[in-house]
Amino acid sequence: MAVRKPPITTREYWAPGHAACAGCGCATALKLATKAFSEAMEEKFGDPNAFAIAQATGCMEVVSAVFPYTAWKAPWVHVAFENAAAAASGVEAAWKKLGRKGKILAIGGDGGTADIGMQALSGMLERRHNVVYLMYDNEAYMNTGIQRSSSTPYGAWTTTSPPGKYSIGEDKPKKWVALIAAAHQIPYVATASIGNPFDFVKKMKKAAKVDGPAFVQVHCTCPTGWKSPLEKGVEIARLAIETGIWPLFEIENGDFFNIKIQAPGGGAKVKREGGRVVAIEFKKPIEEYLKLQGRFKHLFKQPEAIDEMREQIKAMWKVLGVDVTLPKPEE
């Protein structure tokens, strides 16, 4: 009987038994990321284990390393909330001196990356450490109980951006950390999503194989913080791509003029000029994404807020050089 090679290694680095919530999309992201890393290390160095992880405080850290247990089958260190990039810099420097081949993976949530850890991240990228920084973006501080971060999208409920008489929820557009990372002109920057796991794995492998720093921002669902059905994580993440909310792209060496925008799927019509995506006509309205999540529930009573969201999404795509049309749901 012919045995098919599994699409991704069966080796596990993020082992079962961690304490993440059921349906946690970020746990899936870490599982995939470490598998991808291992494959890249095997291909690059002939050693699937040639990596170590430095991780920021946050959900994925506390659920995976509860003394005296660990979910990690790779060398792993946690220092604090804001310094995964700096700690990773130190590990990388030590490995260099020890003559150890391999790559360091730094992991931080959106809070530990976009807010309090921004300075350390910038320093690490600018110094060109041979580190892949993975930002798992669940769009709020989940570990401390769902407070807004600068990566929380416009309109979302969190415990510190509650909708009310004078509030529609989070009132600022999402900060685009991938673009800030790319501004450091590092070899590789990508956005990814657990809604497209194969693409995510491909990008993690690419990131792990470049020489020098790389940054990957992966959109991952948090059923607890998003108030969404446990079993719909991947579907919701995919809808974010298909409605235009979450763009997938790659930027190499900080070259914004050659930004590689990916076709979103979901029936969207993509217009290219000279191989470059210049316009996307989305077919699925953003409401399809929003309605599956309790954090946006209040917006359906304020349709003008959803329209404002559409305008912000268009503006965001414009920065990426793409003209988008976003449909309204059929009445």
């Binding site: 990596f51 220092v79 804001e82 810099s89 420097a93 030590a94 110094r127």
Partner: protein, 394 residues
Amino acid sequence: MPMRKVMKANEAAAWAAKLAKPKVIAAFPITPSTLVPEKISEFVADGELDAEFIKVESEHSAISACVGASAAGVRTFTATASQGLALMHEILFIAAGMRLPIVIAVGNRSLSAPINIWNDWQDSISERDTGWLQFYAENNQEALDLILIAFKVAEDERVLLPAMVGFDAFILTHTVEPVEIPDQEVVDEFLGEYEPKYAYLDPARPITQGTLAFPAHYMEARYTVWEANENAKKVIDEVFAEFEKKFGRKYQKIEEYRTDDAEIVFVTMGSLAGTVKEYVDHLREQGIKAGAAKLTVYRPFPTEEVRELAKKAKVLALLEKNVTFSVGGALFQDFSRALVNEKEKPILVDFILGLGGRDVTFKDLDEALEISRKALAGEEFEEVNWIGLRKEIL
């Protein structure tokens, strides 16, 4: 043959780092410590020091990178002062809790506000509860020696704690003195290669470092930091003895000077100890029974040695360049604790002086002497005294 060179304490610290051969150094400039990373950059640039020097974007990242590197199992060094050390504060606890033998050279400087770049000890004293070992140098030679000693103690398996070595801003950091630079071979013999038994990030034997601990384990983890501090007392004595044998310079946790028949003993740390010894000579010439004592080691606190010292004097006059508000100075608190249950104990008088680089003169010490003599004579005295305060501008 050891080489003698005239240098500042900052250079002495950089030389110590060079001799200790750390594999990773991460540092950020701050007055008065800037020269340390500058000098180290030169050593690295000239190939005299084979280390990765991470030019971080802040002190917070400097110490974070040191933690990362030390967790990966290599000898690690940094230097800072004042606000820089304060910015490291959070990670200092983590370095100690993770039992990583990082060494920091601290150019002891005041803390803002108001901003002031000159000497006192408030920066490192404020970190006394982090679990770090603390050494204070009287002169530039001690700055060099104590950094080597700090590495050896910190890396001892019975200790495994980070250590800081303080030397006074400008008074030492920027003042040149002859310093003996020991031979590399002797330092190599003394320190040896750092071979971590518990901290490494090796894919061949993966471990998890820096975990979360529930109430069932946290206290025990903190207790090991306590225990390691206790263990360090004996290890420090051993290392001091070995250092003396190899390098010929003697260190003690508390160095006493003319204390044998002293009634009043002035206790201090750092460069002020030099001034105080001279002052004691001056008093002795007038027939005043005074002595001096210098704390070379502040953490672990040398409780036993303090108790021995206390048996010799009627008054311990504590001269300190730091404030613990509504208490006095940190030494006053520490000495009180060390002596509280002793049957016979001297009177403790606390003096806050020299903050923010204010010179400490014989005239100031006269003021301290006068108050101490009052105490000795059974007259009323203030427990905490601010010396040299310019009352006219208050």
